[in-house]
Amino acid sequence: MNWIPAFVAIPLGAAFLIPLIEHWIKGSSDFLTNAVTAFLMGLTLSFIHQAAQTQVYFVGGWEPAEGIPFGIALVVDGLSVLMLLVVNSIAFFATLYSVKYMARYTDKGKFFTLFMLMLAGMNGVVIAGDLFNMFVFLEITAIASYALVAFGIGSEELEASFKYQVLGGTASALVLFGIAIFYMMTKTLNFADASRVIAATGVTPALLFVSVLFLVGFGLKSALMPFHAWLPDAHPSAPAPISAMLSGVVIKVLGVYTLVRIFFNVIGIGTIPALKTVLLSLGVISMVAGAFLALGQQDMKRLLAYSSISQVGYIIFAFGLGTELGILGGLFHLMNHSVLKSLLFLNSGAVVYETESRDMEKLGGLMHKMPVTGTTSMIASLSMSGLPPLGGFFSKLIIIWASIDAGYPLLGAVAVIASIVTLAYYFKLQKEVFLGKLADAFQKAKEAPVLMCIPMICLAIISVGLGLLLLDPVREMVLTPAVHVIQGGVDYARMVLGG
């Protein structure tokens, strides 16, 4: 039996089942969701050793006729496996964390239903082999996350969710418009097939227009700098495990992965010469402006949200370089940032859980009261600001190195400056939340419950170990296949359809 559709089918089935079992047995959704995410994480791990080959799965058994696919194709290649690994492992830790954290909210069953829908959508985006299914899964993820952002139903949450919906809806409309023109142009929606058509017709005005629509649409989803307005509201307002999912994986799957898949594998990054420049400039702007905006924040979760904009800027910048080293750096930074930012948001959740405050001016000195949260947060902050020998140092080093190597030493210098600013705002976070003097109001604060500490400790250990990904045998298994897929560009069509 081929397990590829299970990535979508199993969380979807769980999402449908949870309202029923929660109706009869209260609290059973905890076990079901954790079992599902643990299973999916295991399933992804079992896919790693076959990451180097491209597997194609035709839903419903509709095989292509004469080399032209007309059914729904699911494609799992090196890049998909890497993304699946990131999505499902973060999801597992987030669900484990939710068991205790979400007990303070009402109706945990609804929360887990939406969470499972979001997970199914993200896995679907990653394994979809055609543009329209990717869009459908993207919408499933987006709509589930709108509801999850508003889950606290306070005025702040509702406002953030509304803003997110308006901008997310705009993005989806632009993408759908782009897909319609794309379909008119190529007469197919399958990535591989469309890639062949584009290679044959070359650059047309319609293709340029579609590229702009996709760039803006997916740019909005990944919160690149001119399109970032929704993120600093939406990510802090959500419950902590959802903030971790949104900042850790959702923007990467919905924004970065889709951009990379379409521009590198379908259209071809070399086809439109301006594309690299656009990605580079969007990346640099987000990187710098996000970092400086983060520096001025007083709300702990808002600071982390601005930091996400900055770090996604690094990733897009690295992909924009287009060299093998740049792509490696981008993918590595993507993995690092997923783990670190999820961990930091879970830390912030633990602080909010114990103190009910995210205002950094009021907080302080929590290190003694919450040693696990404080230490894990310290590790994540140091790694994110690029302190050797933690993973974040190596990914930034590779990106800066790659930019000098590709002939952009000036942009490399900008990346270094942004990295110093990153160090500054993470230092500020540590100083104002965990170090310094403990405020009187929080004398009674204690460490978060064990079930919340376990995911934080696990993520901290993973984040320390992520540097090992650069060791040859591990890199060959995880990063190299993904780099080859992106570097291979439009060779993707041959890998999927053969011939």
Binding site: M1, N2, P5, A6, A9, L12, G13, F16, L17, P19, L20, H23, Y57, F58, V59, G60, G61
Partner: protein, 144 residues
């Protein structure tokens, strides 16, 4: 509570017919125009007709929101399990039930079951949405 006797009488006459038409459209979804969605709307519409004529309190005991929610979940699970069973016959969404002659119920294979599942899901969802609107209206009018 509710509307005049004429409206109530006509609603009582219309409801079974509308519901039956909905079920007919659902069950013939794979061979005639319409299908699970259109039929489900009609089934929900027949119930909504009753609520409109008799007022929300008269129907609440029998078909409350919880039952509609369970029906919605059941519809979704039925759809999912028919698709998932395909995995054991070769592929996800595989059409594994044998096709028969055009006049047979299973002439479209699995499609008939997908239509039934969609019908249950859509009717329950639409009814839930309608009831939620009524409750929201009631609460906002008592609140002000």
């Amino acid at each position: 509570m509710g509307m005049t006797a004429i409206v109530k009488r006509i609603a009582m006459l219309m409801t079974p017919a509308t519901c039956l038409l909905g079920v007919y459209i659902i069950l013939h979804g794979h061979v005639t125009p319409g299908g699970g969605f259109a039929g489900g709307i009609l089934v929900a519409g027949s119930l909504i007709l009753l609520v409109l004529a008799f007022g929300i309190s008269s129907v609440k005991q029998e078909i409350n929101q919880n039952n509609a929610k369970i029906a919605l979940s059941l519809g979704l699970i039925l759809f999912w399990s028919v698709a998932f069973m395909g995995l054991f016959h070769g592929s996800f969404f595989q059409n594994y039930l044998k096709s028969h002659s055009a006049s047979h119920f299973l002439s479209g294979g699995n499609i008939a079951f997908y239509d039934i599942a969609i019908g249950i899901g859509v009717s329950a969802a639409l009814f839930t949405i309608f009831i939620s609107f009524l409750i929201a209206k009631k609460e906002s009018s008592t609140g002000s």
